[in-house]
Every structure is written in structure tokens, then in C-alpha cells.
Symmetry: C2
């Protein structure tokens, strides 16, 4: 699963624009189409590349507001966590959900059109599962958002010239 310099270049390109033809990617990384294509295939099989998706403009689909919701709970067992995860999964407004260490137990990022819609979401959420200590922080603006992960830490193939 180690990635050499060429693999990382390919991934960098694909993380920016997955529509780029393999031939062009190959040209940019110094390979012909076939070996470049095979590397991409392999990275897909290996699961390094999980999938290719269309990224939409949040404003244009009317979910320009992001809210971070922190949850503290006393229920620290696995069963409860699964239930919570299941409930959250039902809400497409929740685009990210993390189990946290420290003060807060869970953190989720929710996208909605406006404060009113958030309130509606909030009521529906607490209707599905009993949450006592919840606090919401509103984002006034998104300064940076990328799906591209840094590749500087990827496991490097040793014979990586």
C-alpha cells in the first residue's frame, strides 16, 4: 500500500479534478496512458481512492449555513453510541460526525439553509434520541473547505527515486 512519488502526483491531480483524462494525467506525471491507468486502478482496488464524487456549491443548493453541534452525554457504552450513529445517519443535514476525546463527547457538522431550519433540525434530532447537553456554534463563513487530503504523510515506497 506504499505510494511512490508518481502515485502521489496522480492522487494530487485526482483530488483536484477527477475528470482529467488518464492520458493527460500520464503526461503530467511522466507516464504513458496504460501504466498510469493501471496505477489508478490499483489504488482504487486498494481502497486508497475510495470513490469519485461531484462536489456541489452549498450556497447554490441552499445549505449555506454550517453549524457545529457539540454533544456531551453520560451514556458511554457502545450500544448507545451505535444508536446515536444510526439516528445521525438518517439526517442528511449532518455531513460529519466525530467521537471526541476531552470535554465534548461528540461533534457534528450540520448544514442547513438558515437558523430557522437549524432549529427544525434540532427539534427533530432530539425527538429521535434523548440528548441533554447539546450546544451549537454557528459558522459565519467558510474560509476554506477541501476534500483533498495532504499526501505529505503517505507511506512512501522505499525505492522512490
Amino acid at each position: 500500500m506504499a505510494l511512490d512519488k508518481i502515485d502521489r502526483k496522480i492522487l494530487t491531480l485526482l483530488q483536484k479534478d477527477a475528470t482529467m483524462p488518464v492520458a493527460e494525467i500520464g503526461r503530467k506525471v511522466g507516464l504513458s496512458t496504460t501504466p498510469c491507468w493501471r496505477r489508478i486502478q490499483k489504488m482504487e482496488e486498494d481502497g486508497v481512492i475510495q470513490r469519485r464524487v461531484a462536489v456541489l456549491d452549498p450556497g447554490k443548493v441552499n445549505v449555506g449555513v454550517t453549524v457545529f453541534v457539540s454533544v456531551k452525554t453520560n451514556e458511554h457504552n457502545d450500544a448507545w453510541m451505535r444508536k446515536f450513529a444510526g439516528v445521525v445517519d438518517e439526517f442528511p443535514e449532518v455531513v460529519e460526525f466525530y467521537r471526541m476525546s476531552g470535554d465534548v463527547d461528540y461533534l457534528m457538522r450540520v448544514v442547513v439553509p438558515d437558523i430557522g431550519a437549524y432549529d427544525t433540525f434540532y427539534k427533530r434530532l432530539i425527538g429521535k434520541i434523548n440528548l441533554t447537553d447539546v450546544s451549537s456554534a454557528f459558522a459565519m463563513g467558510q474560509i476554506k473547505y477541501t476534500t483533498a487530503l495532504p499526501l505529505d504523510f503517505a507511506i512512501i515506497s522505499d525505492d522512490d527515486k
Copy 2:
């Protein structure tokens, strides 16, 4: 920029899998290839679809740890904000960055291989810009992560049968 039911179906599909052939998308939404293709083109031109990207597995590229970094500051002017934004942009580890209302002024999501790498990142960050009140919260696990935005709020074309 209003989207009808078919547009939303198309977007739902493309948010899940952008490799699906237009012909197949058309079949699923009840259209032939051409009109389906034209709708997609239009949504790309309109910027509803921003781009298509490859999504990688964080673990597989060795950035399995997410840290949420909260920043409070006294500098509430626009110039400082721009500088901060510029600095943050330089760090590929920062995948999301928000200006917040309330207690915290800024919130960023950072991805790194481990705690040690986070420490390194942190030092480099505060070396680039003077930040006094910073607090870090570590995610123990990612329970949900999707790039797919909910389309339930999208502006609906009135003649939407």
C-alpha cells in the same frame, strides 16, 4: 438556478458516484442520454456542481487523526482575517476553516497521522502567525463523513411535477 425533481435526482446520484455514465443516470431518472447530459452541463456552468474529485481513504494515506482547533483572538479586523486565511491556506493539513460566531472566533479541522504530527503542525502554525488563545480537540473516530449535501432545501422549480 431552480432545480426540478429530475435535477435533484441527478445530483443525488452524482454526489454518490461521479463515475456513473450519463446514459445510466438518464435511465435512472427517466431521461435519455442527451437531455440528461445537457442538464448536467448546465448545472456545471451554473456552478451548482463545482467540480468532481477523487475522495481518498484518510487512513490509507496516513492522516487518520482529525483535530479540531479553536482559535480566539482580539484581532477582529478584516486585514488580520485575510492574513490568517492566507497562512492557513498554506497548510494542506487544514482541510476546513470557518469563521465562527459566539465564544470561539475561528474553527479549523486538521488532519494528521498522529498526535506527534499534530504538535509539529501546531508549532509551525503559531510560527507563522501570532495566536494566543488556541485549543485543540482530538477526534477519537470518524463516525460519519460525506461530501453529499442534502438537497431537500434546494430551490424547487415551481413547475416541478
